[in-house]
């Protein structure tokens, strides 16, 4: 049975003295190919992040537009109503004028 210090020191000694591990031989080739062909901005995770943000922005824009348009429709309806009123009044006023002019 080792004491507390020995357990740790023994393990540390083992791990510290390990030779440096090396990545695969084609590490650089793979990396440079990736950087040259796709470019760093087309990194998969990064692309997904950008796509998510773009979709969120589009949805926000669509909702905002829908809200603004709904408000505008009410206004247009109001304007239409006023125009109709005005035309009606004009029509009756015109009728009255014609009636006066009639012999």
């Amino acid at each position: 049975m080792f004491n507390q210090t020995n357990n740790l020191d023994r393990g540390l000694e083992l791990l510290k003295n390990l030779p440096q591990a090396a990545p695969n031989e084609d590490f650089e080739k793979k990396l440079f190919l990736r950087l040259e062909q796709k470019g760093p901005l087309l990194d998969d995770k990064e692309s997904i992040k950008w796509i998510k943000w773009s979709i969120a922005a589009l949805i926000t824009l669509a909702v905002t537009n829908a809200f603004v348009l709904s408000q505008q429709t009410i206004k247009v309806e109001e304007i239409d109503f006023l125009v109709v009123d005005t035309l009606d009044e004009g029509y009756y006023y015109g009728q009255e004028l014609l009636a006066i002019d009639k012999p």
Partner: protein, 173 residues
Amino acid sequence: MIDLDFRHLVQKHKANVYNTCLRFVHKREDAEDLSQEVFVAAYRHWNQFRQEASARTWLYRIAVNKSLAYLRSRDTLKRNGEMIEMDGMQIVNYEHPGILLENQQEADILMSHIRQLPEQQQTAFILQKLEGLSYEEVGNIMGKSVSSIESLLHRAKKQLQKTLNSYYVQSNK
């Protein structure tokens, strides 16, 4: 076209980056993927870096951040089959090519206990005790003072002594 300076940077530091990632994530394939991510991030910020002093510190910082982010996101270790249960503890399989077969279990046990440490203690411990960086360099990588690093290492060591002892007593090894 990739900058010649950047190619030199990769050549010079790829082993350090790979080893650091391997100490955090334990699997060679994951360490290789993370190392690629580190250099992709470095390439993306290459222009900003030129103003900084030490490429080594900068790359270590990216490697640590990427590794910790990976560990945080990997919440299903058991499901991936990476960990096995041994004497009531999750044991990682440390895939370092330099470990002799007879030492594998001991290495796995220590790495598993290091993995259980709080993030900052874990980072300081790996960088200083396993990578052999100076206190000052670890401080620069982690954005902390030398005294903070000393304190983190002291607490990490105490914690490891305690948990390792308890583990060996429990498993009667």
